[in-house]
Symmetry: C2
Subunit: 432 residues, 2 copies
């Protein structure tokens, strides 16, 4: 019995909902298994900012008595603590919002709930999805960062506390924790998942996405959040045409990332993928600075104007610095960064010419030691500003034994094609 219950926190959302529908398991048993795992592991992982076990069990029992609600019936999920929840506080990783209780769910939470999901808890976020990290540790080694800012979502999913979690990415806040924690991260095309009820950080970049352990679950949640019928996964008719894109940041790639990319290329080549090197147009080299230095700080200095005016002393030094920089920035410099993003987006058609997907580094390497920083967002951030769908796959481990992922990129709005390519690649590179 113990083994069986333990296993329930390890299965996918897809399997949970299938087995509940078949009457083999109950939502309550799944929630119990997740809560048991959390009770054991949370003291060293610190993935959750707020957890209400009694509420989660009550919701599970309600679902067990209720008619079939939808494709997430009985699935417990984690929700990054910058997304409003009507029945759990939303603290934004900031003392300013300690105990803050929103009056309504965010859009994505409402959509997941309506499909039968159980909001198990709010996961730790770095301050306002970007600055001072929370207490979360990497579940593979608590001396290392889990990445951020969706730190708790990454750690909770990797540590089998929930099958999937909602995250947000302004720089690299979904794919970096996914890579560091050894799970799948998915940042959709900009605008795909609705942002109502999200605390905005830098609104021309903020993208809601998913952290999960299976591609099936990524597709299942995506269907729910877009109000589509879940459909069987699309399968590529032939081997994908892959652009190997080292980017201008390649010099920052550490041995773990270099090895992951090279090994991935070798195995995909052997499996019949058509791989060729591609070089991004020169203007793309400015994207990281444009996104991180200009747009991020300028837009935060506006979106956090209320907190800056009323609670400046409760913002971290790092956040105060970013906002000051944003306030002092010449508007022309901000506009130049916005325009660079627009220009590069317009050039993407030619980048993708004859290609299905790009293969590119996800993080500089494995998760660095220490919890004071969540790692370098460079390799993720350039795709965030390009508004293209991005996915990290947990394909490799570095010399430290910690995970290091690869990143796949598809053209904007071609998220379904990204899924199909990711499946093909995952079958060749994933755990055999």
């Amino acid at each position: 019995m113990l083994m069986h219950r333990h296993a329930l926190n390890e299965i996918s959302a897809t399997e949970i909902t299938r087995r509940i529908a078949a009457g083999e398991i109950t939502a309550e048993a799944v929630v119990d298994a997740c809560l048991e795992r959390i009770a054991t592991r949370e003291p060293s992982v610190h993935a959750f900012a707020n957890l209400d076990p009694a509420l989660a069990r009550r919701r599970a029992r309600e679902l067990d008595r209720a008619p079939w609600r939808g494709p997430l019936h009985g699935v417990p999920i984690g929700v990054k603590d910058v997304l409003d929840t009507a029945d759990l506080p939303t603290e934004m990783g900031s003392p300013i919002y300690r105990g803050y209780q929103p009056s309504a769910d965010s859009a994505v939470v409402a959509l997941a709930r309506a499909a039968g999901a159980i909001i198990l808890g709010k996961t730790v976020t770095a301050e306002f999805a970007g600055m001072a990290p929370g207490p979360t540790a990497n579940p593979h080694n608590p001396a290392h960062t889990p990445g951020g800012s969706s730190s708790g979502s990454g750690a909770a999913v990797a540590d089998f506390m929930v099958p999937a979690a909602l995250g947000t990415q302004t720089g690299g806040s979904i794919l970096r924790p996914a890579s560091y924690c050894g799970i799948i991260g998915y940042k959709p095309s900009f605008g795909a998942f609705n942002r109502a009820g999200l605390k905005l950080a830098a609104e021309s970049l903020d993208t809601i996405g998913l952290l999960a352990r299976s591609l099936d679950d990524v597709e299942l949640f995506t269907a729910v959040l877009l109000s589509r019928q879940p459909a069987p996964p699309r399968v590529l008719e032939s081997a994908p045409r892959v652009g190997l894109c080292r980017t201008s940041l390649w010099d920052h790639a550490q041995p773990g990332t270099v090895a992951a990319i090279e090994e991935a290329v070798k195995r995909l080549n052997a499996a019949g993928a058509h791989i060729r090197d591609i070089t991004l147009p020169g203007s793309f080299a400015g994207l990281k600075t444009a996104a991180r230095e200009s747009i991020n700080c300028y837009e935060r200095s506006k979106s956090l104007a209320p907190e800056w005016q009323s609670h400046r002393e409760l913002l971290s030094g790092q956040m105060q610095h970013c906002i000051s920089k944003g306030l002092e920035m010449r508007y022309e410099d901000y506009l130049a960064a916005i325009r660079l993003g627009e220009t590069c987006r317009a050039q993407l058609d030619s980048v993708f010419d004859g290609l299905d997907v790009l293969l590119t580094p996800c993080t500089n390497g494995e998760a660095p030691v220490g919890l004071a920083h969540t790692g370098d967002p460079g390799f993720q951030a350039i795709w965030t500003i390009l508004h293209v769908p991005a996915m990290s796959l947990p394909t490799h481990r570095g010399s430290t034994g910690l995970p290091v992922g690869i990143q796949l990129i598809a053209p904007k709005h071609k998220d379904e094609h990204l899924f199909a390519c990711a499946r093909w690649i995952w079958r060749r590179l994933g755990p055999q």
Copy 2:
């Protein structure tokens, strides 16, 4: 004395703040004059959803005692009731949010407040900035709509209750009330004014903007909301090159609008403007339907998912219809609408080739009779989805005696150039 106080509610924000700085008037006297006007006129205009005269007077007295706070020191403004305010309820034009008190200001409110503005009151919005209209009447004739969804902002500014107000435009919700009420409406380039703390309607369209009676005020508020130093207005070095753009909706233009456009062309020609007819590419004809039918309903069905799940019976029939349509819409059809917007945006460079600004109808005609509908958003909505800056100028009156404006459009991010062109044109077409 009475005349003097009465006049204070008629002067511009620019003049208010200049005269307060010069020690000629007090913020309290300005607020008193506005409140007196409101007390007289509000019973027939119904511009405000929430008003707290005692609070506004207290804030004014605080400012009168405080050091110079910023370029809006002592200026009372109206704020559309979909923008969060920490000290006034934010009711969204919906019974679901009756009495709802946000915990913090929206970004634009915080920025205006930090510059010294006094939030005089929350202005009536149609339900969630889009559907069932509120009680506001057109101040020129209470049997006619003031337009919407920024109904209260348009009416309050036109009726001299406040010098300026914040509004939002998803279809035509700033420029239509501006045109119907005979004031200036300004919708900036998409994304210019930060949306943190705005209740999202359709987030790929929602744009925060301004309603005011003077171009100086539009520029003053714009500087504040972008954290720029207010600067003397730019002046065109030569007469503007104007593209007369009737659009594919020209058949909907009523005599008042046709006369306004024709008369404007005649006078601008006489004044030396270089005017030529331009025809939008054929694909642009689909923009109105894409924006209004597809994007608006699909995105609302997501952003209002929490309300749909928890308070469906409190949504208007019109809103329920729109959300149902959005939920049932094929995702591919939504994406096609999004892509049409992207395609047309990419074609705008060639549309503007050799032109400074487009002159185009703003509304079908004067404000229609009745308060049950706020008029047709077609002429405004096609520019909203194009993300370009748009401004209406209150240049004309129709045969009913009600105002009818013209609309000016500039390329994305060229808002300053739009201001310069608008000044040139306003000097020729505005009240002599």
